[in-house]
Amino acid sequence: MPRRAPLVLSVAAALVLTACGGPADEAGGAAGTTSGTGGHPTGTLTVFAAASLTDVFTDLGDRLEEDNPGLDVQFSFAGSAALATQITQGAPADVFASANQAQMTVVTDAGLADGDPVVFTSNVLQIAVPAGNPAGVTGLADFAREDLALAVCAPEVPCGAAAEDVFAAAGVTPRPDTLEEDVRAALTKVELGEVDAALVYTTDVTAAGHAVEGLDFPEAEDGVNDYPIAPLADAPNPAAAAAFVELVRSEEGQEALADAGFRAP
């Protein structure tokens, strides 16, 4: 996933989407307004969601489409900061699900959220090590070892902010070799065996499969990341937006999140 120019590119892509999707969205919105309680939303629903939600939300989107013939659910998964920027620049989204409160605040401060955002799940950090744990990492204290190759997220991104909290709680001064720009980049370096350990979310370890092992550590409780979700004020399809938020918060949605390693809010 490229970035820098990428932000520009994704904004450009969003603009293109606006251009192509405009009429469809309007049709969806118009159809959506006819559905009262018990009615089925139709048209196109566009969800902007944090990259860590990719697997769960895609699955939930499929279920919503099954229950509502005529509804087409589109996702844009990216870093929460990039998505928040796109929304404030006028991207035509119906729902925003952020991986932290800070980026949701960017959207609410701009007056673009419809009502108050609700925390629907949370994520904690785990120590990710290559399969077999070749360096014998046992806990957070190992992140102070100079002889290990270590990756931690940069403090500017959500997983890095959470990492700072857990290191402070543990009284450990980390000596990372790299401050990663997002959690998936940190995980890639573990998968390739280029770092001995990285601090990532539990859900990323779950998604990575056999190449990566996750180690729990007690201080993780000090770096819990809350995920807020909100329908957007300018949503082209408010009825579908409400239906999606409802599904995510339902028992069914919460079960899907739990299966992926997320925990209850």
Partner: protein, 266 residues
């Protein structure tokens, strides 16, 4: 060569003006959005100087490395008769089309701790490349060298090979012909290629952040600093971009006068 001053034909003028607008307006956008009042605060942060210095040093090192290896390669592509030249040319330009992040992963697979060559380096010499300034230079060279090779190869093809033939008939050996005839002949092409290469290396992001990682002072170049600043403080990111732009523009203009100016008609 004297050149007649000619007016610009209208069919060229309009698209050329559009091209200028297309390329320059985004820069103006950056300048307009720059928070001038906070400028001193942003600029005096020590991290900015560190990242800028690292960017300039590593881009220059990458350009030097590209010159050292790329000019001979361009000669081979333009002048030699080895078989499979077309395939070779296609192969060495692969980094141009490869997404840089993929290039970074590819460098891991060769030079990383678990890589084909990197594993041997680690076991034999205890040498690991990723997450060092060396890795930054390698990543930038990988992405930028093809620009130099293509420019120099084009210059060599355009250069009149008869000068070299004459030098040979006058008794000059191949090496001294290359040094004393070919090189001066294509010097403007080499200079232009080196500038392209340096500019590309200076802006490199994807391969660097993947293969070298991101750590202030060691591997965090300006583009990486800009990207991370964008996550928290878009205004700071704009300021950092402007600094990078100003420094690179100044360098390029200076070089153009000093270096290109003499050999190229301006």
């Amino acid at each position: 060569m004297s050149r007649r001053e000619a007016g610009v034909p209208v069919p060229l003028m309009v698209p050329a003006a559009l091209a200028v607008a297309f390329l320059v307006l985004p820069l103006i956008g950056l300048v307009v959005r720059t928070p001038w009042a906070d400028l001193p605060d942003h600029l005096t942060q020590p991290a900015v100087g560190v990242a800028l210095r690292l960017s300039l040093v590593s881009a220059t090192a990458a350009t030097a490395l590209s010159l050292l290896l790329g000019v001979p390669l361009a000669w081979v592509l333009a002048r030699s008769r080895i078989r499979g030249r077309a395939v070779l040319r296609a192969l060495v330009t692969v980094p141009l089309v490869l997404p840089p992040v993929v290039g970074g992963v590819a460098l891991f697979l060769v030079l990383g701790r678990q890589g084909l060559v990197g594993r041997w380096l680690d076991e034999t010499f205890g040498l690991t490349i990723p997450f060092t300034t060396t890795a930054v230079v390698i990543a930038e060279t990988f992405v930028a060298m093809p620009f130099l090779v293509i420019s120099v190869e084009g210059a060599l093809r355009a250069a009149d090979a008869r000068f070299e033939d004459v030098a040979a008939t006058l008794g000059a050996g191949r090496w001294s012909t290359f040094r004393r005839v070919t090189l001066p002949l294509v010097a403007p092409g080499i200079a232009a290629g080196a500038v392209l290469c340096w500019a590309r290396a200076l802006g490199e992001f994807g391969a660097t952040i993947t293969f070298a990682g991101n750590f202030p002072g060691t591997t965090q170049t300006m583009p990486l600093a800009v990207y991370l600043a964008l996550q928290r403080d878009p205004e700071a990111a704009i300021v950092l971009s402007l600094v990078l732009l100003a420094v690179s523009l100044a360098t390029l203009l200076l070089l153009r006068d000093r270096w290109l100016g003499r050999s190229v008609a301006t």
